[in-house]
Subunit: 265 residues, 4 copies
């Protein structure tokens, strides 16, 4: 087993003790480096510890850069890794610090390192977790059509309601334009309710009350969709078996025969 | 096939490539024209691009007017179309711009063009989508009675709570009238919480806390109703067919063979 | 059939055309009279239409008083009616106006007339509605224990969190006392979020963020409890059959034999 | 039975009338003593009734101290009790008052006495309640993995969104640092919406609207997870037993006889 192969196992696998240690260290490095960037944005902390934070940031960036290059070296198909989801995120995690040498601002973009935390699933009991994540993902996918309809309906409601409020309340009460009215309608329908814009006229308040009651009823819909899907999946346990005859999936847990072609499972 | 028939297929159907292209173009025209009106309402944009936006608005209105007239011409029963849901929406989508020539204000009403976006279902895998929309609609309808009861109860609560707050807090803390108190109670119960009116006296805050905890419990009710209905329907797909061989039930909607004994359903 | 009996049927029943008409008129009278009181509380309307509104209010109060006396006369057991739920509400609906002759303020209490709207179920397809309301009530009752636990847990959380915020933020940031802190914790946990009191210190904001994420998870609990109960009821359809042998209820829809004593249903 | 044994039964058990009386008195003492501390933190009340409240607080602390010592005396394994959950809470409930003699502030920490209210389950129909609490706890535990994934996803979203808002809006609109932006993102995603920080630029409002719609969809996930779990558990009571006569499943937990064929289970 060459050094390259050993490094590959440590960096890309997490079954061995060394691989696991590497992944845990990596996760902590990600969390600390993101915290460093967040703290650096606080004016009072930047004034006092600016230099220390910048040194830390560069240290982490160099570590991650070396890690990226090593990954490129040890992986069998470098190009495939470069254009994979993980490869792109790994690259985007180090670029902003270098870019910040040329222009100001982009160093904050390194918070996209947060996405690298997805690797946490590899350290924890991966299979178990991925199964659960998969179930959630499937529930979301199965609800795709219903959620699309739902969003179109919500969008139509907020557009019409926002315009109505612009006509009723008008610029003197903060509804300076239709987009602002639509923004208010979204803030209200989702029950966020900042209060930066709020209806002041009696008619506006009546309309607002109607939108709120609607929001109350509407929030039940996505919840209902997702819940029904998760319930169906956890009761049905559809996803495990595949028919050996027609290769179709989606059989119930208690199935003995394929529901599509009738052959034994 | 006459020109009239060809046009009918393009405008009213979306199975043919031409029909689909027409529908997609129409959807984009609706989205852009609604955006134009929304942008026009922003004071700074109106000052700079007012003329361009008005020209665009008129262009779209004329296109939609021609489309409406062509629809009238090619459809077999014009009157039926005029008084159908789609016919009324199509007409209401062009009227406001013409009305705006006589009086000011109504041009913003053309955001009801948004409703025309419902045609999106025709372009996308229609049947599939309509089936899902139908399921949602059925779930809502089946919950109609429960939701009516729920709304009456909510209305009684906010009326009584709003009055109580008017008596407790009074005009000096922003609760200038009972309707205002009721408006506040709705804002609170739906967890929107603008903060434009908020209780200031200790007793008022105790009452507000009670309403919030109630709202917390109450929001569970419509969610529960809708979820139970959607779950029942998506599970209900199961209960219709019975196997002629083993007499067992609980097959999925898409089953062709019994999952217990493998015989054809 | 005497006049008394005829009146009884009109006032207490809603099966006959006359009885239904009476109930519909009564409902409208309640809605209008409550609206009158609400409008009277608006200062600008009171100034202009004060007299008219007061005349209307007295008219409705006299009508309801006569109705109450007639109910007392035609009912078989007057005392039972007086101390029944409906009887008490009917009396409380007229008293405040008379009380307002002696002391100021109580006339607003007549909004408790709103509770009389529960009679609406008698006019609509009553049985159907009552069945649904019953199902909701049963779902709530079956969840009683879980909801009690839930409320005790929520109360403990807000007490401890509110105190923590009082110690962290202190009076200078609006957290003038522990009860105020608890009020803030309730406002936050229920996601109402007025913003009248909001954390200003970094530590306070971290704690607030934790409470919000907790609130996010916690709101799932009552929803889950109620939904599971409604789902179980609408799937199970437990409540209809009673065992002729042991008189116990709670059998599933598909039961053929009593699950308690084994005798045929 | 010695005095020690008698005291043990009174203090640690709640089956006997005396034990129940003791527990009920204890609960009231806890509620009143916590209320006393809360009231003491209100400046106006402290000024007027400060002495009375302090006397009450000391009375309760001495009562609870004696109770703690008696518990230590009567329990069979004192050390086990001291380090048990209840033992630690019992000790923490009395310490703050004594600490307040030396330093200021900690007397408010005695609100952790609230946790002692968990003993309420012993007074009420304990087994029933504990069963329900257990079911809730199990539902939460079974959802542990899904909730962990959910929290990681939410944390990543708020970190990235908070940074984006800091870059878009900047310090001049209140987003003074990335942590502040993340705080804002949490306030928005959880639909709390204080309004202490709210987007002011058009781009910021568009991003805020996207976060709100996401929050709307995301809140459906924990609800779905918990609901599905509770539903599965309350339905799951069904799936354990099989009839020895007809081999059918789906009996309720409390069934003694098969609901299909009537034979004993």
């Amino acid at each position: 087993m060459t050094t390259k192969e050993k490094l590959h196992d440590i960096i890309f696998e997490s079954d061995t003790p060394k691989g696991k240690t590497f992944d845990v260290l990596l996760l902590w490095a990600i969390i600390i480096s993101v915290s460093v960037v967040m703290l650096e944005s606080v004016a009072s902390i930047r004034l006092e510890y600016g230099n220390e934070l910048r040194i830390l940031e560069w240290t982490f960036t160099i570590i991650f850069s070396i890690e990226y290059l090593v990954r490129l070296w040890v992986v069998k198909k470098p190009l495939e890794y470069v254009f994979s989801f993980y490869g792109i995120i790994d690259l985007l995690s180090v670029i902003p610090t270098y870019l910040a040498l040329v222009i100001t601002g982009p160093q904050y973009l390194i918070v996209i390192r947060t996405i690298r935390l997805i690797r946490v699933f590899r350290v924890l009991k991966m299979t178990r977790f991925l199964g659960e994540a998969n179930q959630l993902r499937k529930a979301m996918e199965a609800s795709r059509h219903k959620i699309t309809i739902f969003i179109i309906v919500v969008m139509s409601i907020v557009t019409i309601m926002g315009t109505a409020m612009y006509l009723i309340e008008g610029p003197e009460y903060g509804f300076t334009s239709i987009p602002k009215g639509v923004y208010w309608a979204i803030v209200t329908l989702t029950t966020v309710g900042y209060g930066d814009i709020a209806p002041s006229t009696p008619l506006g308040q009546v309309l607002a009350a109607i939108i709120m009651i609607m929001g109350y009823a509407i929030i039940a819909v996505p919840t209902g969709i997702v819940t029904a899907e998760i319930t169906r999946q956890s009761l049905g346990g559809l996803s495990q078996k595949t028919c050996r005859n027609c290769s179709r999936e989606g059989h119930d847990m208690n199935s003995k025969f394929c529901k599509y072609c009738g052959s034994e499972l």
